[in-house]
């Protein structure tokens, strides 16, 4: 018996040593590549078939997108485009860069852009129609220049072009959509596609000689889907991955204590808010809405639940986002006495309200709303928390059938589309808010080509929204990314991991 146990232990020990040795060997062999643990799956080879920001950004690394957000300038700037300038109210002239070639040496031509607009709009698999919804037409002026006509005066066109990948018309015509995407994904970006594992991983490889890349950028990047945060952290700890997305607050300290990695924090560009549809009582009364905002102790929630890993908002956007006004302070501070008074003035004391929240979609969403419910009850609401499954809640929100909910809105570096979506009359059913002042400001800012004037209008619109309170703006979560030592990477608000922003030491 004891002999058998001894033999088993010896064998196990041998296997462990062998396994460790092989694991270390595997790591040593992979010094020029990194693995990034991500939380979203890849839907397939068609770059237009995915509406997830992070996945779209990987396709932009492969194919190239026309514009990108410049964090220093705080605006969208040309990227695969050399320039993008308004010609008149409706027309823009786009000039393509000449120093970016496709991976097979072909130049990027105006016909590719027109083709990509068409694919975004009409490809049967496309989920990217929104990026071209304001484009009326596009015509080539020469090989590298084209005129884009918008359906209305649109200062925000560069915003929409940042998520449109420019695929090759020539290859599409030669092979057809499926074969072009799967067998000939010849982009113009700094990385080329190596492999797509539907729902599991995507592998890209550095294009040496591309103007965007340096020798210190990883030669190969494997984006691996890992849903479980514990798994992402463990994989970071044992060297399976070098960058891990979405480290939840409760695991940040563990990452910080790892000998081989650290946690990098960055404000997200996703505003978290409580929405109240004014088309439904009691939210039709602004005083009731304002009472909600004054009832919520954001500082307390941030401290007790979120470990202060948030930046409190004074409106829909924070520092680094377009329209942010550092001098503006929201009047919707935590003031339960004022909330009680407002509720009494509105004659809504004891109003029964259902607060809807997703569960597991956003950081500590359930715990946050569980804390908000007693705060609402303290000032006179009769509040109940509802926690439907995400698909149910999201559909109901988009159809305007949920009057009171906790939600986040991402992709708000330039908040113009998001503000219109939620707060402009009839722009979408999800809030059914209507204000002549806000409508006028939002429509005007979209049409204002002067950046300074546009920012001023945006700020004014956001202040008006904040004070009328169709939504209480709460915070931007600080997103934690796990980054292995030996990897230079500073995550950005944009929630994307670009190879050229990663350097291996």
């Amino acid at each position: 018996m004891f002999k058998a146990i001894k033999r088993i232990l010896l064998l196990s020990g041998g296997a462990a040593v062998m396994a460790t040795g092989m694991a270390q060997q595997a790591q040593a062999q992979k010094q020029d590549q990194i693995t990034v643990a991500i939380t979203e799956g890849i839907t397939g080879n068609n770059p237009y078939a995915d509406s997830v920001v992070l996945i779209g950004s990987i396709w932009c690394q492969v194919y190239g997108c026309l514009t990108t957000w410049d964090f220093k300038a705080g605006k969208f700037v040309p990227f695969l485009a050399e320039s993008l300038e308004p010609e008149d109210d409706l027309n823009w002239i786009l000039t393509l860069r000449s120093d970016w070639k496709r991976h097979n040496g072909d130049p990027i031509v105006a016909a590719d852009v027109i083709h990509s607009i068409e694919r975004s709009r009409n490809d049967p698999e496309s989920m990217s129609q929104a990026s071209v919804q304001y484009i009326a037409s596009a015509e080539a002026l020469d090989e590298r220049r084209l005129r884009i006509k918008t359906t209305q005066k649109m200062a925000t066109l560069p915003n929409y072009l940042a998520t449109m990948q420019i695929t090759s018309k020539k290859i599409y015509d030669q092979y057809g959509a499926k074969a072009a995407d799967r067998e000939h994904p010849v982009g113009a970006g700094p990385y080329k596609l190596v492999e797509v594992g539907i729902g599991s991983h995507i592998v890209i490889e550095r294009v040496d000689g591309h103007p965007m890349v340096e020798p210190t950028n990883p030669k190969r990047i494997i984006y691996r889907m890992m849903v479980e945060p514990e798994q992402r952290v463990t994989a970071l700890a044992n060297g399976e991955v070098q960058i891990a997305q979405g480290i939840p607050p409760q695991l940040v300290s563990r990452v910080q204590q790892l000998p081989n990695a650290t946690a990098e924090m960055v404000d997200s560009a996703e505003a978290m808010f409580i929405a109240m549809s004014p088309k439904t009582a009691p939210w039709d009364n602004p005083k009731v809405r304002q009472a909600v905002c004054h009832a919520i102790n954001r500082e307390g929630i941030a401290r007790a639940i979120l470990g202060n890993q948030v930046t409190l908002l004074n409106g829909p956007v924070g520092d680094g986002q377009l329209g942010f006004d550092p001098d503006y302070t929201s009047p919707m501070n935590y003031d339960p006495e004022k909330a009680k008074t407002l509720l009494e003035e509105a004659g809504a004391v004891g109003a029964a309200v259902d607060l809807y929240t997703p569960v597991g979609r956003y950081t500590a969403d359930r715990q946050i709303t569980e804390a908000i419910v007693p705060m609402l009850e303290q000032v006179g609401f009769k509040a109940t928390l509802q926690t439907p499954e995400w698909a149910t809640l999201w559909t109901n929100v988009q159809r305007g059938e949920t009057p009171f909910y906790y939600m986040g809105r991402g992709n708000m570096l330039d908040p113009s589309p998001a503000l219109a979506q939620y707060f402009e009359t009839d722009a979408s059913p999800r809030l059914k808010y209507s204000s002549a002042e806000v409508d006028a400001l939002l429509q005007a800012e979209r049409q204002e080509f002067d950046p300074a004037k546009r920012v001023a209008m945006l700020s004014k619109a956001m202040a008006a929204i904040t004070e009328d309170a169709p939504a209480c703006f709460l915070w931007l979560h600080k997103l934690a990314w796990g980054v292995a030592k030996g990897v230079d990477y500073k995550p950005s608000k944009a929630d994307r991991v670009n190879g050229w922003e990663i350097h291996l030491r």
Partner: protein, 334 residues
């Protein structure tokens, strides 16, 4: 036997029809819209309507169902809304991963649970029996997700012996023949890939196998114990047969019917019920695919997967029936 098999296979047709009707009705009645889940946040109502029309969601439900049945008869479950691939292709691509996991888990569970159960039954109320029963009870009771995360933390984290998830290390490039990575690696003579596949299999197999081991151990124990108290066992003992022969050749063999039934049912459950384990270990099988399908209201994917699960269950039950005749020649099928 052949006639029986053909009748059983034919009998699956109405089962599949009823299941398809039920699952189609359920996914349609469930709240949530696949278009809202998949389209860009900023898509206009016109865009959403166009996609709904392209996917046939603007048709009456009975038209959608009849179209589905017509295509399903030809083996075409339609195209996944999310992955934009034929559902059958997605399932066939991932089924080997789930089957491989389920088979290895079952083998481990049988290899441990069966002898432990017999051992415990042969020494009722002994220390071995008590410890075995407690162990079996724990095996049955431990939640998969908890055990999975614990093992990841321990063996992938603390000891750094095994990978935290996935099915293989990227870049090994073993040619796919069967879809079972361990077998394909052996066929290709790639021992590094075999070692890699086994390392990736270890933790999810332990998690799935633990629960099944507990069940098999308990059922075997109870069944063997019951048989040991039968008259024929006493007769065998009276005839002077050794305890080992009585236990293994008589009591165990007669207890096998119940044990095989449980193993078969559990194997089916492992294939269809490994959703949590596949999620925790990022295992690219059909369980995780189903979870994604449900999350995104991918109707064709959900329906196709449930039909495949149903078919697998029917086939497993058929296989169990056939094994009965081998174990107990008195059983005649037909």
């Amino acid at each position: 036997m052949l006639g029986y098999t053909l009748r059983r296979v034919a009998g699956t047709v109405p089962v599949l029809f009823m299941v398809s009707l039920l699952i189609f009705a359920l996914v349609q009645l469930a709240p949530g819209d696949p278009v809202d889940m998949l389209v860009s946040d900023e898509a206009t109502e016109e865009v959403r309507l166009a996609i709904r029309s392209a996917w046939g969601l603007d048709q009456p439900i009975y038209v959608q169902y009849l179209t589905f049945v017509k295509n399903a008869v030809m083996g075409d479950f339609g195209q996944s809304f999310r992955y934009r691939e034929p559902v059958m292709d997605l399932i066939l691509e991932r089924l080997p991963a789930s089957l491989e996991l389920a088979i290895y888990s079952t083998l481990v569970a049988v290899a441990i649970g069966l002898p432990l159960g017999v051992w415990a039954a042969s020494r009722p109320n002994s220390l071995v029996d008590t410890l075995g029963s407690i162990g079996g009870f724990f095996g049955i009771s431990l939640p998969n997700f908890w055990l999975g995360i614990l093992l990841i933390l321990l063996f992938a984290g603390t000891f750094n012996l095994l990978p935290s998830g996935g099915r293989e290390t990227w870049g090994l490039n073993v040619e796919r023949v069967t879809g079972f990575l361990t077998i394909d690696a052996i066929i290709a003579g790639r021992w590094d890939a075999l070692w890699d596949a086994l390392r990736h299999l270890t933790l999810p197999v332990i998690v799935l196998g633990t629960n099944m081991t507990g069940i098999i151990m308990q059922i075997t124990r109870a069944s063997v114990l019951e048989n040991l108290q039968e008259d024929y066992v006493m007769t065998a003992r009276a005839k002077g047969m050794s305890g080992r022969v009585v236990l293994w050749r008589h009591a165990f063999r007669n207890a096998l019917i119940a044990v095989i039934t449980i193993i078969g049912l559990e194997f089916g459950t492992l294939i269809s019920g490994a959703i949590i384990v596949e999620t925790v270990f990022a295992w690219p099988g059909i369980g995780y695919l189903l979870l994604q399908g449900i999350s995104f209201r991918d109707f064709p994917l959900i329906t196709g997967l449930v039909l495949v699960y149903t078919t697998l269950f029917v086939l497993i039950n058929l296989a169990i029936d056939m094994i009965y005749t081998v174990v107990d020649p008195r059983i005649r099928l037909g």
